[in-house]
Structure formats: structure tokens, C-alpha cells
């Protein structure tokens, strides 16, 4: 199975794609792809269930579907009854609709406050639902996260959510492939987040449009599964719907023993299959880019999309030096919104809020690194720092390790699990004009609250900035 019947060497993407073809693409119709796992959340699914009801349709495979609540849920503490109160009536109504839909259609739900609830892209992997070689979709663009396991995983719209609910299939035109090779080794205090921010800064937010990325090379191999998830998560920020990493021992070790992972003889069979997934020697990609990890430094964004990023010690670019008019206009607009001057440094820029969380950087290793960095130090008096674990399980694990105490002693807030200030739907938000260093994935205008200004960076840069109260290069603060 390394190559197809014709002996043609194949990429990881091609193998997973071809394994899931219910019907190949024709001149008249796109390919019909079978979906192994459909993840559902409260914000992008209600209208899909409505369509099912209107057309009197069932969910074809509730047993390949999993729902959670994460986007509009509060991250405030449980009350004396052990319940997380939802004070926003619209959010509460939306959550009730999710509960009813799951109950009516027989879909398992990780409800708010229950032990496995969390951000959809954190719980899939931690439950072992996410496995190599699978096709995974969710009405959420950061579904690309799951590609870290060698799955083909991508975000879909609500109409497509209805398609998958009703038929477990999706109509898809075949994307192109791009190899994203990261050679060499990362320097101290440079992380997976910095790799992906550097990639997006290089190709731009539209550079990956129409492609599926495969991340490869020594630096990717050396990463933990959490690091690989951070990278695949932000594939969409480069315009690619999916990013993949070939499964290896690191992957298998991570999946082994997870609740939904295969067990016993089934595990051995599964691993034997997964070992055949990596791209064959001689397989070709439609495009290839190469980065050198040794040359990377911590990265930070200065603008209003994730492509407007730079090494942390660089200077904010000058729109007048751009020859392309539309790029100049875009940069001008971004700097006006951000309240920044061309040619200024970001290091030393005062910050109001530091957010450690989101499906990019809220897993246990992210929190461990952040805690190690902040232990024995204090959050600057001008800064509100929020730490929002990605799931209830991450939260419990962190508490068992005492990380919550470390954060609280430093003066940070320790919250319940959810998307929180990554998307600012639940009341966790920036005030107009405030600056945040955020470990999330989007710095779009208003993303973290209307008028809020976001600098995207790694957890280490976020913590260093929280301690100093200004944007700080984490290399100046290593321990």
C-alpha cells in the first residue's frame, strides 16, 4: 500500500484521500469523500439540524459524530451548585438548542461543566478520537489541527455540516499539495508557534489557498504532538484548509491508551496500517517551501491578519516602502487600527492583557511551559493575564500538577475551559484600544473584542510580556 496499483508513489494526503473516496471526481461532480469523524459545536450546527428536521432526515452515523460546547460558553468559575452559570440569554438559548439537537438525534455531547468538555480541537485528540489516516471535519476552520496526526482534517460550512450529518459524506474538489519543509533545529525559547507564524509571514494569509500542506523536515519530527497541533492548527491562517504531519512513533505514543484509541490486537493492526501512511519516496507535491529552523527567532504579529508577522526584534514595516498599492493600503489600514508607527519596535510596547489559551496553545504542555516561565515571578500591575485551559481534562491535569497555583500566585486568572478570548463571544474580551499579547491564532480587527488590538505570539512570549508589562523577547528571560 506504499504506492498505488500503478506503482505510483503517493503523498500522505493522496493516500488518505484515496482511502476515503466513495465516488471519484468526474467532470460533472466533485469527489464524494467519506468522513470518519464529525465534530460538532454549538455555533455552526443549529441551522444544519434545522435543515435535517425540515427534510425529515436522520443523522446517518451518530456513532461517528461527537459534539461539544466551547465557543459561546462562559469560562467563569462553577457556582456553589457546581454549575457554570450562563448569564448571556442568547448563548444560553444556543446551548439549549445544542442539547436538544444532540438528544433528538442521538449524538453524544460533552456538555458544559462535564468532565470531558472543552475546545473541540483539544478534546478530539485527548480522547483518542483523532487518529492517523482518518478524515475529520467540523464546522470550524481550525479543524486543520487534527492533521497533526496524519489525518485529513478540515473546516466546513454549516450547509456541509448538514451534508455530513445526513450522509456522512462530503462533496470535495481535490486540493493541490504543498510540502512545507522545516529543516534544522529550533533555538532556545523558539517554539512551534514561532515556526507557523514564520511560515505564514512568508507565504501570506492567502498563500496556501487551494492547497493541503504537509509539514515535514527535522524540526517538525522533533516536535511533540502538541507542537505539531499548534502548527497544523494555523494552516488555515496561511489559507490552506488542511495541514498534515506524517504519523510516527511520537504520534503512536500519544494516541496509545487514549479512551477511544484501539486496544490490544486492534491496536497492533491499526499501527501497522498507520505506518504505511507517510509520503512515499519519489512522491511529488504541486509546490514546496523550505524554512530553516536554526534561523528562526520568536515571532510576533504587528498587524490585523496572521500574515503580518515578524521576528520579535524587528521593526514594524513601512507602508511607503511597499510597491504594490493594495498591500500598501492594507498595511496602512492595519497600522492605523493597531495604533502603531512604521519603523517602531514592538519590544517595549505596553500591553494591557495577556491571553494564554485557544486551540492553538492551551494544551497541557503549553501550560507547563508557561507555568515554568512565570513561577516565582509576578504579572506586571498594568496587565490582566488570563490562562484558559483547552479542556476540563487539561484543567484537571494542570491542577494536579499545581500549575493553577503557580499562575494564581503570579497574579494571573485561572479559568474554566473554552474558546474564551480567542473569539470573544462569551464576555471574555478586550476593551476598545487595549493591547493584548495572545497565544491564539487570529489578530483580525475586533477578533478579541471590538476595537481590541492583538499581538499573536507563543506562550513564552506571552508570559514574558505579562511579567514585564510590555512586549518582551522571551530569550531575555529564560530559565
Amino acid at each position: 500500500m506504499t504506492s498505488n496499483e500503478n506503482g505510483h508513489p503517493r503523498t500522505l494526503f493522496e493516500k488518505v484521500w484515496e482511502n476515503h473516496l466513495v465516488k471519484p471526481q468526474t467532470p460533472d461532480t466533485p469527489a464524494v469523500l467519506y468522513i470518519d469523524l464529525h465534530l460538532v459545536h454549538e455555533v455552526t450546527s443549529p441551522q444544519a439540524f434545522t435543515q435535517l428536521r425540515e427534510q425529515n432526515l436522520k443523522v446517518r452515523r451518530p456513532d461517528r459524530t461527537m459534539a461539544t460546547m466551547d465557543h459561546s460558553t462562559p469560562t467563569t468559575p462553577k457556582n456553589s451548585l457546581g454549575i457554570i452559570p450562563v448569564t448571556d440569554s442568547m448563548a444560553a438559548a444556543q446551548l439549549d438548542v445544542m442539547r436538544k439537537n444532540c438528544a433528538d438525534f442521538g449524538i453524544p455531547l460533552y456538555d458544559l461543566g462535564t468532565e470531558n468538555q472543552g475546545i473541540v480541537h483539544v478534546i478530539g485528540p485527548e480522547q483518542g478520537l483523532t487518529q492517523p489516516g482518518m478524515t475529520i471535519v467540523c464546522g470550524d476552520s481550525h479543524t486543520s489541527t487534527h492533521g497533526a496526526f496524519g489525518a485529513l482534517a478540515f473546516g466546513i460550512g454549516t450547509s456541509e455540516v448538514a451534508h455530513v450529518l445526513a450522509t456522512q459524506c462530503l462533496l470535495q474538489s481535490r486540493p493541490k499539495t504543498m510540502a512545507v519543509r522545516v529543516d534544522g533545529r529550533l533555538n532556545q525559547a523558539v517554539t512551534a508557534k514561532d515556526i507557523i507564524l514564520a511560515i505564514i509571514a512568508q507565504i501570506g494569509v492567502g498563500g496556501g489557498t487551494g492547497y493541503v500542506f504537509e509539514y515535514m523536515g527535522e524540526a517538525i519530527r522533533a516536535l511533540s504532538m502538541e507542537g505539531r497541533m499548534t502548527i497544523c492548527n494555523m494552516s488555515i491562517e496561511g489559507g490552506a484548509r488542511a495541514g498534515m504531519v506524517a504519523p510516527d512513533e511520537t504520534t503512536f505514543q500519544y494516541v496509545a491508551g487514549k479512551p477511544y484509541a484501539p486496544k490490544g490486537a486492534e491496536w497492533d493492526r491499526a499501527v501497522a496500517g498507520w505506518r504505511k501512511l507517510p509520503t512515499d519516496d519519489g512522491a511529488t507535491f504541486d509546490h514546496e517551501i523550505v524554512l530553516d529552523a536554526d534561523k528562526l527567532t520568536p515571532m510576533i504579529t504587528y498587524g490585523t491578519n496572521p500574515g503580518m508577522g515578524m521576528p520579535i526584534n524587528s521593526y514594524v514595516p513601512d507602508p511607503d516602502k511597499l510597491s504594490d498599492v493594495s498591500q500598501k493600503v492594507a498595511l496602512d489600514k492595519a497600522l492605523t487600527y493597531m495604533g502603531l508607527q512604521p519603523g517602531q519596535k514592538l519590544v517595549g510596547q505596553p500591553v494591557d492583557v495577556v491571553f494564554v489559551g485557544s486551540c492553538t496553545n492551551s494544551r497541557i504542555t503549553d501550560l507547563r511551559e508557561a507555568a515554568r516561565f512565570i513561577e516565582g515571578r509576578k504579572v506586571a500591575s498594568n496587565v490582566r493575564m488570563m490562562v484558559v485551559p483547552g479542556s476540563q481534562q487539561v484543567k484537571r491535569q494542570a491542577e494536579a500538577e499545581g500549575l493553577d497555583k503557580v499562575f494564581k500566585e503570579a497574579g494571573a486568572e485561572w479559568r474554566e475551559a473554552g474558546c474564551s478570548m480567542c473569539i470573544a463571544m462569551n464576555g471574555d474580551q478586550l476593551q476598545p484600544g487595549q493591547y493584548a499579547v495572545s497565544t491564539s491564532n487570529r489578530n483580525f480587527e475586533g477578533r478579541q473584542g471590538k476595537g481590541g488590538r492583538t499581538f499573536l505570539a507563543s506562550p513564552l512570549t506571552a508570559v514574558a510580556s505579562a511579567i514585564n508589562g510590555v512586549v518582551t523577547d522571551p530569550r531575555e528571560m529564560t530559565n
Binding site: 465516488k23 474538489s173 494569509v205 484548509r241 480587527e445
Partner: protein
């Protein structure tokens, strides 16, 4: 679904690159469970002041651009979040087509499922349409899905690509789900030959 065939409409120029779906419809409006009323919130943060009054200098608030139905965005329109609320909001605001040099994948897919036409044109035509729309708000174009052309005021017809399947569904006003529902046998066959990789419900 209403068929989409041919229509003429005036242009609203919004020549900003990388317009993301958080701008088209900010996340705080996503706490709804239906598709209605989102037009009001379309481009909300660009369109309204903090007190809710319209920003006079925003293009869609200018009297001469009221009633426009074809939006011209900058390159890479619709990037970011997969929210289908973005095409719902644009349609709610009266748009039937968006013109750009290229679209983000998910936004393009979502739009085609709702009858909002993503019209890709070359950079030259794009520039020309923007200046026409900026100079003269009465500028009209004709968008014809059947012939896959957008016709400029000077009579020049420019082709745009649409995949054959989406085109068929839109021209005939049929939902794409119907096609998938018709494949039941093939899906069953696939399932029989490919055991579940995970099972979330145990019975």
C-alpha cells in the same frame, strides 16, 4: 432554493485585501440559531460607530451606493473563520455576487451553497471594475451564471470559473444535499468495506 441565473446590479467597491469573515460578520452575532437578520450586522464594525449610528464615510452607508448588489472586495476575500453566517449576512445585506481576484476556499464553498456568486476575475478587470464603481456609483454589471460571464458597461464580457456541479445546482435551484442522498447504496457499500475507525456511541 431559488435558481440563480442572470442578473444585473450596481457595484459597491470595497477594495481591501484579505477581508476576513470576522469583518463580514463579527463573532458576537453568531449566537443565533437561524439565518435571519444577519444583514443588519454585515460589516458591523466598519459600518457603525460605538453608539450604533452609521459611519458616514463607509461605502455601504453612502446614499449613492444604497441598493448595490455586487460587492467588489480586494484579493483573498473571505479568509479566516468557516462561518457560513458570512454569506448569509452578505445576502441579507442585499448582495447577490462578490467579485475578487481570488476567494478563500471555505468562503467560496459556503457562498456557492447559498446562491451568493463568488466571481473571480483577473487583476486588470478587477482594477477596472473598482475604478468604474468608485467613479460612478450607477455603474452596472450583468452577471450571467449560464454563460459564466460578467459583462462590463462597455460591453466586454469576462469569463469566470464555477465548478460544473455548483453551476448545475444553482441554475436549477436544487440543494446539493439531494445528490448525496441519492448515493445511499454507494455509501453503504463503502461502509461495508471500511470498518469504523472510531465509534462514539456504543449500543
Amino acid at each position: 432554493m431559488e435558481p440563480v441565473r442572470k442578473f444585473s446590479g450596481r457595484l459597491a467597491p470595497l477594495p481591501i485585501n484579505d477581508i476576513d469573515t470576522d469583518q463580514i460578520i463579527p463573532a458576537r452575532y453568531l449566537k443565533v440559531t437561524d439565518k435571519n437578520g444577519l444583514g443588519q450586522a454585515c460589516f458591523s464594525d466598519w459600518r457603525y460607530n460605538a453608539d450604533g449610528s452609521p459611519k458616514a464615510d463607509f461605502i455601504l452607508n453612502k446614499p449613492e451606493y444604497q441598493g448595490t448588489s455586487v460587492l467588489i472586495g480586494g484579493h483573498n476575500f473571505g479568509c479566516g473563520s468557516s462561518r457560513e453566517h458570512a454569506p448569509w449576512a452578505l445576502m441579507g445585506a442585499g448582495f447577490k455576487a462578490v467579485i475578487s481576484t481570488y476567494f478563500a476556499d471555505i468562503f467560496r464553498n459556503n457562498s456557492l451553497k447559498n446562491g451568493l456568486l463568488p466571481v473571480v476575475v483577473d487583476e486588470e478587470t478587477h482594477r477596472q471594475l473598482i475604478s468604474l464603481a468608485e467613479e460612478d456609483p450607477t455603474t452596472e454589471v450583468v452577471v450571467d451564471l449560464e454563460s459564466q460571464t460578467v459583462t462590463l458597461p462597455d460591453g466586454r464580457a469576462v469569463n469566470f470559473p464555477v465548478d460544473a456541479f455548483s453551476r448545475y445546482c444553482l441554475l436549477n435551484g436544487v440543494d446539493q444535499l439531494g445528490f448525496l442522498m441519492g448515493l445511499d447504496e454507494q455509501i453503504e457499500k463503502y461502509e461495508a468495506g471500511n470498518p469504523a475507525r472510531v465509534q462514539t456511541v456504543f449500543s
